[in-house]
Symmetry: C3
Subunit: 317 residues, 3 copies
């Protein structure tokens, strides 16, 4: 494994989940793999869960870890050729990234969507430049358009908690005060489309996700109808993907908030969210504190999903 950005990078998902369960049973079994190997974690955006879980996964594998926090504002790399670099960009990407690559064995990169240009966000400039110029395996710690470590952890969690072989999984948009990227729903849909589940996506009109991720998945604009018989409710807010209103917030309608009445429409569904979560916007206190909520177990699987990715990259060095 050289790259981890999308579901397809994992190959067969059943095999990947089996590997995750094996790792979870004994986190330190592969500690020899990371001996004398160094993980460089490059953060262009701040992080709590991703940073902690990635560092923990790396340590489980016996790797050294170097964390580099780069302020998006101060990190001005020149990317064009021919430019006379007499301005505010002190370094060219063609030197900066190979140099980072030469002091480590694997690189993780976090770089969020900026909502300044859809083209820029969806080209995943920063991640792609690391892939192209670092000469090292690169994985996303949440890019502009995908968050595969989260979606893989979500899949592991669903496999742990499912009570039947082909569960109904509902991705539900929910309200939020600020514009959020589509990385989490994109990757969730990407993974669920490849998993052995019945995926339904529900959101207000105007919030349609990128068809390259949605593919054939069913979209149901009636949230209550979508919830009927669901085994898992995956809540998430995102801003508009569509070109003319890209990054906008069309609705903060709390009729979309997930409450007990809606959960009662489901088949005793488990409630999931990637966290951090706005209570009483995304979900009521009652639902998130109920036994149906598995958000903490889901977060704890971030360590496992990351460890599988690092393990595979180490095995492939």
């Amino acid at each position: 494994m050289k790259i981890f950005i999308n579901a397809k990078d994992l190959g067969n998902l059943n095999t990947a989940v089996k590997e995750a369960f094996e790792v979870k049973k004994n986190r330190f079994m592969y500690k020899h793999l990371g001996e004398n190997k160094t993980l460089l974690m490059v953060f262009f955006n701040s992080s709590l869960r991703t940073r902690l879980s990635t560092q923990k996964a790396s340590m489980n594998l016996g790797m050294n870890t170097i964390v580099l926090d780069i302020n998006h504002g101060t990190w001005k790399l020149e990317t064009e050729r021919g430019i006379i670099m007499d301005g505010d960009k002190p370094e060219h990407i063609l030197e900066a990234i190979p140099v980072m690559g030469c002091y480590c064995d694997i690189i993780g990169v976090r770089s969020f969507a900026k909502f300044e240009s859809k083209l820029d966000d969806y080209s995943e400039n920063i991640l792609q430049q690391f892939i192209r110029y670092s000469n090292k395996p690169v994985f996303s710690m949440e890019g502009a358009t995908t968050h595969p470590l989260q979606a893989f952890a979500d899949l592991i969690t669903i496999e742990e908690f499912k009570k039947k072989s082909h569960p109904k999984v509902v991705l539900s948009w929910a309200p939020h005060p600020k514009a959020l990227p589509q990385a989490v729903p994109n990757s969730f849909v990407d993974f669920m489309n490849e998993a052995d589940v019945d995926l339904v996506i529900t959101h207000p009109k105007g919030y349609e996700l990128d068809p390259r991720f949605v593919r054939g998945a069913m979209v149901e604009y009636n949230q209550r109808k979508a919830f009927e018989g669901a085994d898992f409710i995956y809540a998430k807010n995102w801003a508009v993907y569509e070109d003319t209103r890209y990054g906008q917030v069309l609705s903060k309608d709390r009729n979309w908030t997930i409450d007990t009445a809606k959960m009662n429409l489901t088949n005793h569904a488990k409630f999931m969210h990637c966290l951090p979560i706005r209570r009483n916007m995304i979900v009521t206190d009652e639902v998130i504190e109920s036994p149906q909520s598995i958000v903490i177990q889901e977060a704890s699987n971030r360590e496992i999903s990351c460890q599988v990715v690092l393990k595979r990259m180490l095995e492939n060095l």
Copy 2:
């Protein structure tokens, strides 16, 4: 050991000091205990000594260490239920802290008094929330009201340098330009009250400490009288504890500065301070540079006190 905030959490202090001496003789003897164990250090306030000594102690024990610097200003966690979280608090304490807990084995937390509300400071909100919700052993790396790793290091230092079995130990207030919390004097008094010493506290009127820490200890308002026959002088500034003037600076009177003339009243007392120290405010150059000053040895024992606490927590996992 699950919690370390006060002297009583250590149990018998003589046993704890013996353990400290044993650890100090061979710091790496217990390295197996920390294998595959992770310490999370959460700093809401900046730190030099505590950060370095805690990281060192953790490494001595073979633990992995993750340092998390959280800006008090940016860390806005919702703590109430029922609130519609559409404002500036992106996460609820009920999710944030269990998630931190799930990626580590032991948590250290630093969170100073803010002097905005005595009730808030003395309820140790942040620390108590970590204890309640993290599901992991928690120790204070200086809270709002106590600094037990410092006081335990102070006790170890006194036991190392004492020349008689029941030394006279004087905690002396000394002037400082800014308002400082009571965490260090509170813990010092807390520990000395349980130790085999003769404790005297001296300070200007109005600087009385919390009676829950002072308990029966003698308070002598005449500094010179307090110093007579002392074996250890422990200098420290603190702001007012009393309700109506909580957090105020009543005096910057340099008549309370500790100088050679006052040290000459003692029984060749050793001079102690937790550092950082304002020279010629708290103490004169002459005293702190004299052979009687043991402030560096005291600081170096921070590694030892922390290692005993981590060792006990590891043994109890």
Copy 3:
């Protein structure tokens, strides 16, 4: 080895380069040396390459690493005696540095020239205070006036790529939009003067370096003439050293930019620079992207130069 600031601290350079090649062949051969040893890296200025390469070298040797980022603005240490410390300096150097020293085994320090006072910069105050008061081996991670880890890496790189026993090495000034310290050229000249090379320095008039580093080296003000027959071109900008215009930028003349025409005057010279580099100011895209450019290989040798220094310090503990 107790101190590393200048070429002479390495002793015989041939021996040092041999040691570097041995380390490079098997980076983990000396991992036992660092067992239970802690490196403290103190940064008064930000760092990418130095931080990563030093951490990597330390890990190669099995050391624990603690990184301390200190903002120059907030780090106000009192250095004088007798001062009443009631102002903005909360700690005296005589306490701060010994305390840092007591939690580690080796200290690396980065502290750039400020260009406020030539006397201050060239006295290397911060570094010298660490050497004097920390009680531990200290190495420069770039001081105000030298950058020995860079120059040692440069020497290793030249030894790797040279095609004859006594190559001609040209240090060429090149234009840059901002004033840069002399640390890199000073150390380069310092090392080349001790190495088995033919050193020529070329720069516009007014950019003469400190004679204590230049010593007998040839200075040629005609850049083209200097390049004739060169085996290595080492490009670098620096601001004025001379007293009356210390720290000034006299020229941004792009006639000094290194381009293919100039490289054609050389003996197929390799192109070197410490990075980060301003393209089309210091060097054209064409030259830096040509096979003659060895800037990435040079950067990767930063890990090696640092590892030799740490290894020697560990062997000498």
